[in-house]
């Protein structure tokens, strides 16, 4: 199998994994049953799972108390800004800035 065939097949396969369920999604939207509630909760569940995955990746890069303090400071900054100004972009950038600054301040 040549290189480009693998890439194109991966692209088409990934697209179909996203496309076919969305195509059938229009029928599911009208339902009020358990499936509809399941799909409604999926977004929040995915966000929670992504937080665990991305934070644990960061933690294992440097599993040390300093890393824990940086994560706590960054997370607090995100939640504080999000609380004060419901602006996801601003909260994200301030949180990242605080995390970076904490890394610099807590360096050996």
């Amino acid at each position: 199998m040549t290189w480009w065939v693998i890439v194109i097949a991966a692209g088409v396969g990934t697209f179909l994994i996203r496309y076919l369920p969305l195509l059938s999604g229009t029928r599911l939207v009208r339902g009020e049953g358990r499936l509809s509630r399941f799909l409604g909760a999926l977004g929040l569940a995915a966000i929670a799972a992504l937080i665990v995955l991305s934070v644990s990746d960061l933690w294992w890069q440097a599993p040390h108390w300093r890393g824990g303090v940086r994560l706590a400071l960054g997370a607090t900054a995100v939640l504080l800004v999000q609380r004060l100004t419901p602006n996801v972009g601003l909260a994200t950038l301030v949180g990242a800035g605080v995390y970076g600054a904490a890394g610099w301040a807590l360096a050996d």
């Binding site: 369920p21 799909l39 569940a45 799972a49 960061l58 996801v88 950038l93």
Partner: protein, 242 residues
């Protein structure tokens, strides 16, 4: 609502989605940059690196793809690994459809192509407070796609000459995606939904003891959504009031 709908043209919604993709752009660009660098360092040409981002547009699985190709794995092995990693996206489309004001069939392929983890999470967080225009989702996905392809091109251009100096900016960029997900959680938070969040996070954390991250995430996501689907009617009534 009627007045609001009347003045919001699809182009305007798309522009708004594009503007609101800025936090995604900040998260995607450095990761895509790293992908470009790693792809070139693994022996791909810059065009091949950009080609993968253009055609596949699925972050983590692209890194795995390049690593397996560099290790000389067979085509079918690489392909099945990529598709297995992306299986969690099976659930995103129907979930997104529940949040859209309408789903015109002609837009379905474009919406589907851009349905990455981060685009889905951002759309669902926004959709918790109001129904979403499909054009807004397209604008959001377009911003993310441009950042992904552009970041890959930059990284591939710098190629083997680039090394991470671990400075302030590099450290800050490491936290962009966790910060984005946290802000999205805060935006979508409803008090009555805490069991969904707790179960999804706990199951993902527990799953990571035995499985790779993408499998643990799928398990956590499904466990959380399952709890959400079982909540008693009273909980849903309470949620409507919070």
């Amino acid at each position: 609502m009627t007045f609001e709908r009347a003045i919001s043209s699809p182009w305007r919604s798309a522009g708004q989605g594009l503007r609101e993709s800025l936090s995604l752009v900040a998260g995607y660009a450095p990761i895509a940059f790293s992908f470009g660098v790693i792809a070139v360092q693994s022996g791909l040409t810059p065009w091949q690196a950009v080609g993968i981002s253009l055609l596949v547009f699925a972050g983590a699985s692209q890194f795995v793809m390049v690593a397996m190709m560099a290790a000389g794995s067979g085509g079918l092995t690489v392909l099945s690994a990529v598709l297995m990693m992306n299986l969690r996206h099976l659930f995103y489309g129907p979930a997104l459809a529940t949040r859209l004001v309408a789903l015109p069939r002609r837009l379905v392929p474009w919406l589907a192509f851009g349905l990455t983890d981060e685009v889905f999470a951002t759309a669902m967080a926004k959709g918790a407070s109001r129904p979403l225009e499909p054009a807004w989702c397209l604008g959001l996905a377009l911003g993310a796609y441009l950042a992904w392809v552009g970041g890959t091109a930059l990284g591939a251009g710098m190629g083997a000459g680039w090394t991470n100096d671990g400075g302030y900016v590099a450290q800050a960029l490491d936290f962009v995606l966790p910060a984005l997900f946290l802000a999205l959680l805060a935006q979508a938070w409803r008090r009555a939904r805490w069991p969904v969040v707790t179960v999804a996070a706990g199951a993902t954390l527990l799953g990571m003891v035995w499985w790779p991250g993408h499998v643990a995430m799928l398990v956590g996501m499904l466990a959380g959504a399952l709890v959400g689907s079982r909540r008693a009617r009273t909980a849903r009534a309470r949620e409507a009031m919070t």
